[in-house]
């Protein structure tokens, strides 16, 4: 499929560019990209993982070519990663020496329609590092070990159809084969296994059973949006699967991705000298989930956020997020005695502070997730300085805290890490 796409793009492209004399002297293709060297260590010992949490060299190549009717995009990373030490390329899991981030074509068959076909990064919704209706693939490992924030987004092979009008706009994303998150599976980051009631890491990584049948195990995501004066309102629909494992087979103990349907809405706009946003979602889990303790139940999700500049070049952002189990009575009644009981609701509060200094070349940031219900949290700190337009140095930490190893953030306690990076962009 991907090969076919590539071929099509090339054929298309050359035909379209024929006879289209270029009067400037720009090369046919020009590349952008970066080199990025990044090292991180755990701040404590983790019996299940290496002491180094991160150690990789990355080269990114990116090019974009416009033809009369079509724009062609490619962005790919080449990675040397002795920490994971797996070099065979798996484009879906993002393993190996190549991580293809983007390879797509964009065209407008009609004035009011854009089509983006191929591998792409997709984002929508209003949360800041919290997602309700953005059910596109995320790379949680990158997020926890200190890669650049852009790597939280994993690529998706999809076709995106966008329709625009004065009244309402629509994006429709069809993913012919389910694209899971790059979830925490123990190979890089240790985690808590509720069935075994213990921590797990690289010696016994999580095994999963992915829905992987083309055009059957597919995903559909729709967003309808428009503005009312300064307020952006959107409605969302998703049909597919939980993006990270949310179920387990009892015999094989393999993790599964149960079916998921989601309905949501959001609003964002100016409020009290800042920007406010509210987003809600109803996650409808697989049929029978309510009575099956091994499948995550249906949930109600709610997010409210606010951001404003509180002093010169200093921005504060606050969020509250709720995840509430909608079949809690059923869940309790069907829960085996030996299995740890989850709370009915999980609350998370986040604070982000960003300060820019020295003509915006020095940036300090702090992002804290805290859950009062789990009594745990995740503190991200980062300092970066642009030595020149091309060279940036950066250092940061990912600190997980909490007293119960089974809770969401505290399970990663042994993975708390500090990291440093140098990046050259060209």
């Amino acid at each position: 499929m991907r090969k076919f796409l590539f071929l099509m793009v090339i054929l298309f492209g050359f035909n379209l560019s024929n006879g289209n004399a270029q009067d400037d002297l720009e090369p046919f293709l020009s590349f952008n990209g970066m080199f990025d060297l990044r090292m991180g260590v755990r701040t404590q010992e983790d019996p299940h993982e290496k002491d180094m949490s991160l150690g990789e060299f990355r080269l990114q190549l990116e090019t974009e070519k416009d033809f009369d009717l079509v724009t062609f995009n490619v962005a790919t990373d080449f990675i040397l990663d002795p920490i994971l030490d797996e070099y065979e390329v798996d484009l879906e899991r993002g393993d190996g020496i190549i991580d293809l981030r983007q390879m797509n074509i964009i065209f407008s068959p009609l004035d009011f329609m854009d089509v983006k076909l191929g591998r792409q990064i997709l984002t929508w919704g209003t949360g800041d590092l919290l997602f309700i209706n953005d059910l596109f693939a995320k790379d949680w490992n990158s997020f926890l070990i200190g890669r650049d924030e852009e790597y939280l987004k994993a690529p998706t092979d999809a076709v995106q159809l966008s329709l625009f009008s004065d009244r309402i706009n629509m994006n429709l994303v069809y993913v012919p084969k389910f694209g899971a998150d790059r979830f925490v599976d123990g190979r890089r980051v240790s985690f808590f296994d509720p069935l075994a009631a213990s921590l797990r890491g690289r010696n016994r990584p999580l095994e999963v059973n992915r829905p992987d049948k083309w055009f059957q195990d597919d995903e559909l995501a729709i967003r309808l949006y428009r503005s009312f004066a300064a307020y952006e309102v959107a409605l969302y629909y998703y049909s597919g699967f939980w993006k990270s494992p949310a179920g387990q087979y009892i015999i094989s103990a393999k993790a599964t991705f149960p079916a998921l349907e989601a309905f949501g809405a959001s609003i964002r706009g100016p409020w009290a000298d800042g920007i406010g946003n509210v987003e809600i979602g109803y996650y409808k889990s697989e049929t029978g989930a309510a009575k099956n303790p091994l499948i995550r139940n249906s949930e109600f999700r709610f997010l409210v956020g606010y951001e404003r500049e509180i002093a010169t070049e200093l921005t504060l952002s606050l969020q509250y997020n709720l995840e509430r189990n909608l079949d809690y009575m059923d869940y309790l009644q069907n829960l085996p005695q030996s299995v740890l009981r989850e709370d009915k609701a999980r609350h998370v509060v986040t604070v982000r502070l960003t300060k820019l200094l020295m003509q915006q070349n020095l940036s300090l940031s702090l992002f804290n997730f805290y859950s009062p219900s789990d009594e745990d949290g995740f503190l991200r700190m980062n300092i970066s300085y642009k030595i020149s337009d091309a060279i940036k140095v950066e250092s940061g930490s990912n600190i997980f805290y909490g007293k119960n190893q089974e809770s969401f953030y505290a399970q990663f306690r042994n993975n708390s890490n500090i990291f440093a990076a140098i990046r050259y962009e060209y």
Partner: protein, 266 residues
């Protein structure tokens, strides 16, 4: 008694006369300020320009930005506008877009598009007097300062220039005590501006280095802003300036943040 009444009447007349005189002067200065505002920010129905920004520190170390600016007026009254700012250089901000809808009755709406995440971020209308993309120009220098936020006064006039002094009505909101503009009488473009602090020290100086007629509009092609405290400065060079290209209003929307409107950015 009659004398006193006469004196009072006389004084009253004198005062009223002065009032009339200063109103006329105020009218005149507001007329000039309006024309200046128009000449800098509103010429043509729409405008496109490439902009190169050289940001220099006191030791001559340089940062470089390459930007394409699109601007569209939404009315003929020098009111609401939409701005689209596309970044080409340096590499780390390539394809990033800043979009602003300038409103008259409320704060501007602003968005930032981050291509690596395909993220359309709404940003709060921040302090207008902070650096625009790390340069020595402020947001307000790029998108305009509401002319009613200051009290303006003509402090000098030569054959070529009006010198206008502007004092903020809300001094706590800004870093200057006042500023002076040297306005070219022909083009109504400021050729020089000086920003004074409370000690009447000129800590910030603007100079228009080159003005050209483009499609009948006098246009600044080269300008610089100096920070006299740090010794840094930013030099702007405009090129491919075009007016009245017929840029559609829908270019200034989420659709074109995610997909740059190449044909208007050339």
């Amino acid at each position: 008694m009659k004398k006193i009444i006469n004196i009072i009447t006389f004084l009253g007349l004198l005062f009223a006369g002065q009032q009339v005189f200063s109103n006329a002067a105020a009218m005149e200065v507001m007329e000039i300020v309006r024309k200046v505002n128009h000449a800098i920010f509103y010429q043509g129905g729409d405008n496109k320009a490439h902009l190169e920004m050289r940001i220099l520190d006191d030791q001559g170390r340089e940062r470089f930005r390459k930007i394409t600016l699109l601007r569209k007026n939404l009315d003929e009254k020098d009111g609401a506008q939409k701005y689209y700012v596309f970044f080409s250089k340096p590499a780390d901000i390539k394809k990033m877009v800043f979009m602003a809808w300038k409103n008259i009755d409320r704060d501007d709406d602003r968005w930032l598009y981050l291509p690596a995440l395909d993220l359309v971020k709404r940003i709060a209308a921040s302090d207008e007097r902070t650096s625009f993309v790390g340069s020595h120009f402020f947001y307000e220098d790029v998108s305009g300062r509401n002319i009613d936020e200051d009290v303006h006064e003509i402090v000098a006039e030569t054959e070529q220039y009006y010198v206008i002094k502007s004092v903020p009505k809300l001094p706590q909101d800004v870093e200057f005590s006042y500023y002076k503009n040297w306005i070219d009488k022909k083009t109504f473009l400021p050729v020089k501006a000086e920003y004074y602090n409370e000690k009447s020290f000129v800590y910030r100086t603007y100079n228009a280095l080159e003005i050209k007629m483009i499609e009948g509009y006098p246009t600044v092609m080269n300008a610089q802003m100096e920070d006299n405290t740090t010794g840094g400065k930013t030099i702007l060079t405009y090129s491919s300036v075009k007016y009245d290209e017929g840029i559609p209003e829908n270019i200034f929307s989420e659709r074109y943040l995610r997909r740059a409107p190449k044909r208007y950015l050339k």
